[in-house]
Symmetry: D2
Subunit: 338 residues, 4 copies
């Protein structure tokens, strides 16, 4: 049984406590939060959990194996580092840190203290994303041509981070997991429409070392909610609509065929192939539940998860480079994987 | 009665002939095409129309008032210039020319020969686009925040132009008409996935002299057809879905409200406003029919249309700058309006 | 403060307890259920609530003002009658009783004991249904032509009642409230496809004393979920799609116009009118919360609610007649309102 | 080459002429219509076709092999009978006749004169309907539970027939072909809302000799266009949405599983099975083109088509019985297949 202490019981913390309480192999023994009201909610719902306003109580507790951090992003680095130094495994909300420098330091600490660190890239544990990962990694789609994602709606204006750090982080973690590749160049454009507030609309393009192109559109000010991803491959193509109640992932047997003879190109012989569409059954389990179980398994087996500190580094570097490009009106920025 | 000679009877020419034949105030007297088979189709359908393989016959004819040009884009400039020099009014397919240098020369010729020139930006004559133009120009939407358009599907690979010149040209003409504003900076990214072929996926961002941002996503290799535009304003927002059979334009009474007091910003008082949605009735007439009648009216009244040679110049400059940015992996390019 | 005792803590009971606990003006003091496990859930969540396996404890309690009944339908009549006789107000799940004879007796008891009885026709307290009621009762739709509703999906096979009593009851309560009229004739067809189980597909038609026609399609075995209602009026028409996340009610300014001159009919002068579509903003509050507050208000003010025992009688009579017709392969059955 | 004379060049006749002209193996030599204007359209478009105001000219012509009848339904019987007597094969619009008595006489004449008669049940030649026929007849869906179809919109008010004869005829022909079974009992309800006009809303239920149930909803006064069919089977289920541009037929691997042990029924062990969804590629050819080629093949090979005079009889009997039931407020009417 992995015993977990949770720091932060605001918006996302209650989901962590519920899932770590209900997952076989994990339990929550302590919750820390600065707000006494939040701690009251914990006690009335989970009488067995010890509550505290001082997160150090968790770090000092000998009974706590792992610390889950669900606090504002500006505190992630310090808290995660302290937890590692206290010998705890770490489950930390995304984005992992505010800067890539912090991310690298955290990667060093993970290696040094030989602890498990999982960044909460929840989406990669959904049935839909795992199915897309499978279809891409088995090369069912053929060579990947493009990855295009839209994530927009009217809602939940953030004040401390812009729309890239708030929304695009989801698309980048999904893309990173599904494609398993890292871009060479990132560019981003965006603007802010509310005085004194961060950018609320942004567009990111990522270029790779071949013809693959990826793009993310995020917007806090859209009149409708859209969660729509297109993945084009040489053999098949995917439409992933996260708002569909039942068929979130559709696989199209569509594509372009090109006669490879030089004279054919000259003669413009591009053909179209149209076949069946197929919506595979998806694992309906709550992503966070699957992720919690995987965290426990990683600790037990002493292996880092797929959403490990290196994944956290990759995502933070992309976010940082995108924000830099955005400030320069879309100037392309070179990325290095490590 | 305006008598028109049509040059080119391939893909689009038949639509021009049909509309100019059926519009009050216009008629077609001659059609030129290099293909005898195409000319045979003209004669069997319209026995009164004279056909020729030499477009000079049209330019020389004293009975022809105006020339409609529906030939490959590489020939637009020469044909339009020759028609103006022959004293004819000109109706020319989009994009107007292959380069902005040509576009400027054509603008000079229009002024010099005092003829009407209309670029066939068909979409701006649809009921949907005219309604959006009305809603923006009456300031019903308030200040415009963003213009976002997606135009993708699997289809009709072009070999002589890339996807920007083929598809984004529609979005740029619609945006130019609806917003009535011209960007300061354009950037574009895109790649080609079929060896030896032009770019099949592209993303364009346009920045203006305030917080307005515009973006266009075009793709020849998508498994599904999407024609979807979002326009965000400070008061209202529009969703324009051209594939909807009946309610193509939806106006949302949604937005963000900000208390303007400095302390409010500090206290992060961004509120959301949600109200009714409204789908106005749209003029159902065929756009090309409306446009043909407008062409006749402009000639009769001696006034240039809204889609005049200057509109043609604006669009070609954007296309040219976008292609230039695309070749430099998205480097932002400065635009000047004139 | 209205103090409520809840009988039944299975599928729906927890919703009643939560809402009566959180609504201003109501509280829950006791919960009865035959299952000790269910009562344990009550106690861990609401330590202040007294639990019992004997519902008589609630009826006998002097502190209980009203009884909420969320037990199987076969027990509704006895429990509601006993509660009225014990001087309690009653909130009872739908359908109110198993037979119309029971329903009439309950109406008599309500009158005799001068208590408030509310049948839990939850849907009529949704923002969508209240908006439709408003549009019909203000005659914005003109004369009502038809009411058509589809409620189908794969799910939750009931064993004690057929699909009419399980699903059509929702449509009948919505229709009864929105139209404010009662049919003269009801017919129903349906079949069972699972051996030994009740009918899983059914169609109901209701005819009124004019040209109004109503129809309900319910199905437990459909591959997709559909909740779709059409209401046609002489002036306007409504599409109510309960699965739409934001625009559940759409009002179409569409209709038929008929020139009333006799010769016009002869000359077949039926015209079509097409105008704007409009999706009004709807009250987003949880229906059961609104309903709970209304129950409290009715008790305080001594007035019966719109979903009173007479509404319960009307619905049960329709369900009973529909089941009778179904057994006779759709034979039309006469209905009397009282 | 089958030479065809077409009687009637109003709404549908032009489609017949175009398809019989363009199909290999058929040609049109004559067209008859009472309107000189309509005949003028024929001549300008097809200079080789002889036109006449007297359909007898077609029946008398020795060069005409087959007669296509696209006139008002009240004239179908007389014209088809006369054509058969003149030794011509017959292609006749649906519904085949106005009464089942006429339909039976026509069946006798077909047998007597040994000619081919095809009723224009166009929909059964679409790729979508042929695919559904294939899925049902190969028993991929298992035992068929229900067939449910909705065909509604605002449009094209008919004055000589009610909405059943105008719209439900499509659903009945599709159902007849896809299921390959004939109902035992039909009932229908419906009303008219425009004074002096036929019923504009109607509902039909058909019961079979097992638990199969079929239902059709047709409506001329709906604010939106719906063409939606559900077919439920014990193994799989179909959603056929004719308005979908690309995936009209979706096959769901969903269903109910029942443990057959008596004690299981008692213990209410109904389970749900949920699997993949699959949208097969459909033949995109125009249905009327496929049908025209099949008409030619049947004549050449001397075989009756699937949509032969017996199919015509079956459909007319259902329409007639439905109208009879409708006049009796939904009274169930017994049907006999022959």
């Amino acid at each position: 049984m992995i015993t977990i202490g949770v720091i932060g019981y605001g918006y996302w913390g209650p989901n962590l406590v519920r899932n770590f309480m209900e997952t076989d192999g994990t339990t929550v023994s302590m919750v820390a939060d600065l707000s006494e009201a939040n701690l009251g909610k914990v006690r009335s719902r989970y009488p067995t959990i010890v509550t505290t306003r001082d997160h150090q109580d968790i770090l000092r507790s000998a009974h706590v194996d792992a610390v889950a951090i669900a606090t504002p992003v500006s505190t992630h680095f310090e808290l995660a580092l302290a937890a590692l130094r206290a010998g705890k495994h770490v489950f930390v909300e995304k984005p992992m840190t505010q800067t890539s420098a912090q991310a690298h330091k955290l990667a060093g600490a993970v290696a040094r203290h030989k602890r498990i660190l999982m960044v909460d890239h929840t989406f990669i544990y959904t049935g839909a994303v795992r199915k897309m990962h499978e279809l891409v990694s088995t090369r069912d789609l053929g060579e990947i041509y493009y990855y295009d994602s839209v994530r927009v709606n009217l809602g939940l204006f953030q004040h401390d981070v812009n729309v890239i750090w708030d929304l695009a982080v989801h698309d980048l973690t999904i893309m990173d997991f599904v494609l398993g590749r890292y871009p060479k160049i990132i560019s981003a454009t965006g603007t802010s429409h509310i005085e004194g507030q961060p950018e609320d609309v942004a567009y990111l393009t990522m270029l790779f070392d071949d013809a693959l192109i990826a793009h993310v559109h995020v917007n806090w000010l859209a009149p409708v909610k859209v969660r729509y991803t297109l993945i084009g491959g040489s053999k098949k193509m995917i439409v992933y609509n996260d708002l569909e109640p039942s068929e979130k992932v559709k696989v199209y047997d569509k594509g372009v065929t090109l006669e490879k003879r030089p004279e054919a190109v000259y003669q413009m012989k591009v053909g179209y192939r149209v076949g069946d569409m197929w919506a595979p059954q998806l694992d309906p389990r709550e992503a966070l539940r699957v992720e919690a179980a995987e965290f426990a398994r990683c600790i037990r087996d002493g292996v880092q998860p797929v959403n490990d500190v290196r994944a956290g580094v990759r995502i933070v570097r992309m976010l940082e480079a995108a924000s830099k490009s955005l400030r320069q009106q879309g100037k392309p920025i070179q990325l290095k994987e490590s």
